[in-house]
Symmetry: C2
Subunit: 412 residues, 2 copies
């Protein structure tokens, strides 16, 4: 029994219809729309001979048993950024549903079990910290920093989790779910332009950029916009603007990427020089030393700027992820499966953070397969991929999961 990749396109369209507005996908984790997406997924799983359950970190698992207690896990995340696209995350989950359906339809159970996972809060859109569920399962969730997270309205992460039945203190117990996992496979859109530039439908991801994400607060002095001479200002927004541009220069010089995705000022009115500015700086690089140098560049620039502008600078770490190389045997196996269904392929690094990175850091062999993104657009309602490329991605992942579940345990 083969997969029918066209069914995945149907599932994607139905999920989008159910949870998107005209502005795009709205499946922000720990919100009612996300919960509705989850409910719909569970109703789809009800038709399959799987055991579904939610772990202590809010991740949803659906297990189809094999002859061995070990299993191959396939999945991604249903949650999205606000005004997001129709593919980011849900492609991998719904491809997993179709892979499960195809496996279940075969006459004999596979050697290894096949399990679907929908990780909780990959995006971190509401609380600014990505990969909640997969970090917890990997034993890499930092409780102390998670406890301090609040959303824009001042709601604490710990309270939002409780609304969805998750106790932050117990979230780490989700690690038990990775104990008997032989391999983890994640299908995702590239969200970049490398495959498009190379004219390839599907790529194999051999590793992921490391990330340094920090909140930087500048504290100057609020004063009247009209009667405060330029020389006497301590303008927190000017300091923030300079850091955003300095971090960009450093990324360009060192071959990484740097983004200030948010910047807020207080009091935030036309007639007052901002006394406070807070931004989130996100820096990424595939090489650990270069990433450390980018962070050092930004810290040095902030120090100079603070001194120039007469503003105090406070850094607080949000997230730090080391660059990761995926399991070489799995990367090779994935390459063979992609070539079998899609012809030519290539290895690409992932600039975006993915749950597979956490799984790999937990010591489980992991690999990702990327589908070409049109224009590299993602985290945006214009995010899109060609249907035939999406179908090739689903077919490649099905082939890989089938091969792994047949007993080619990369750990053995």
């Amino acid at each position: 029994m083969e997969v029918d990749p066209g069914r995945v396109l149907d599932l994607l369209a139905r999920l989008h219809e159910l949870t998107a507005t005209e502005a795009g996908a709205q499946r922000v984790a720990w919100t009612p729309v996300w919960a509705r997406a989850r409910e719909w997924l569970r109703s789809e799983l009800d038709a399959l001979p799987v055991t579904a359950s939610v772990d202590e970190a809010g991740n949803l698992w659906a297990a189809l048993p094999g002859r061995s207690p070990r299993s191959v896990v396939v999945g991604s995340h249903l949650d999205s950024v606000p005004d997001g696209g129709w593919l980011d995350g849900c492609l991998g989950v719904l491809a997993g549903v179709e892979v499960l359906r195809a496996v279940a339809a075969r006459s004999a159970p596979p050697a290894l079990g096949v399990t679907l996972v929908d990780w909780a809060d990959e995006e971190g859109a509401r609380f600014g910290r990505s990969l909640f569920g997969s970090s917890a399962a990997a034993g890499l969730l930092e409780l102390d920093s998670a406890r301090g997270l609040v959303d824009r309205d001042g709601v604490a992460l710990v309270d939002a989790l409780a609304e969805y039945g998750v106790d932050l203190v117990r979230a780490g117990q989700a690690a038990a779910r990775l104990r008997d996992v032989a391999a983890y496979v994640e299908l995702h859109i590239e969200q970049g332009r490398v495959l498009e530039a190379a004219g390839l439908a599907v790529g194999v991801v051999d590793g992921a950029y490391g990330i340094e994400r920090h909140r930087v607060n500048f504290e100057g002095r609020a004063a009247h916009a009209g009667s405060t001479p330029m020389a006497l200002r301590r303008d927190a927004l000017a300091a923030g603007a300079r850091l955003a541009l300095a971090a960009r220069d450093s990324a360009l010089a060192r071959g990484g990427v740097a983004t200030v995705g948010d910047l807020r000022v207080v009091p935030g009115i036309a007639t007052a020089i901002p006394g406070e500015a807070t931004l989130v700086l996100d820096q990424r690089h595939g090489d650990a030393a270069a990433l450390a140098a980018m962070l050092a560049d930004a810290r040095g620039a902030a120090e100079t700027i603070g001194s120039d502008e007469g503003v105090a600078v406070n850094w607080s770490a949000i997230q730090s992820v080391a660059p990761v190389a995926f399991d070489e045997r799995l990367v090779q196996a994935a390459g063979e499966c992609v070539r079998a269904v899609a012809g030519e392929t290539m290895r690409v690094p992932s600039g975006a953070l993915h749950d597979a990175v956490m799984v790999a850091r937990a010591g489980v062999p992991a690999v990702m397969v990327f589908v070409q993104s049109l224009g590299g657009i993602s985290h945006n309602r214009l995010e899109d991929s060609r249907p035939e490329h999406l179908e090739l991605g689903v077919a490649a992942v099905d082939r890989l999961v089938r091969r792994l579940a047949a007993g080619s345990d990369p750990r053995s």
Copy 2:
């Protein structure tokens, strides 16, 4: 009967207690706290033989008749920015209350009437447009642009006004109040550091900076922060940051001031390059040609930045005020009165916008008296002045109003 300037300090302290939080004054116009301040002011006026009324633009007037139908107006505004200081605006209103009390306590009515005014919404803190009430009275309120104003929560100015009994369409009828006004006198804190640097308690304001205030919107493309190479970005925040710094350079070069008091980004999350950034640019200069050059600098810079960054740039005018020179005879009379009570004084320009500028533009002779601000701090809870300086300012304004009400009509 002389004024008792110490009573003004008591009134200021009582108002602050009634309407401030630990973060500072909260008398934002068209909000309940502002309405409470107004009620308290009316209860203070109840003790005086004055006729109090609110005009079509929401300005509060309290008239003490003279022998002529013409009058001298003294006043300022009770409204504040959020987290503001204890003196900005209310000093001039409460000094006016004390001047009225002293005039009323004299045995004979003055030649000219003396009228207190509390202008509505000087700060423009909620809707981003200053001088609502005095612009309306001066016949300078632009209805079309006022109709489009909304606050952060999307509430339209026109609806907020209606809650306080003001019909935007009829606001211009407030102009009738300025018809028989012989002179306008406003006491205010300097909100700058010129008097402090000169070691002077009180200064005479001979004119006010012109202002160009615009909302500038940059529209780039939201995209994933990790997988979008630097070269392929259309980062709206980077464009906004560059304009903020370019406008600052222009102000420094041309001897004016420029401020970006607010900057907002969409979607505003750590993992997305901002697709949209909107800032408010406020530029000021005492010379009309130099101000025009500053605006041209900023427009030119925005065009270059838009082209460099691949982002569209949209300007929308919020407010444009020409530089104003105050009535020379009134400025001289004010100087004599200040010298009589405080000794040495000097002329200073006003970098901040004040209701007196609108009154002057309506053709009414106007003048302002500034009290030294400690550290130049204003629009901030740390705003302060020395009590003895405040008392000298009150005494000087009382002397000037008394002299003008005695019949030295600067129009005659």
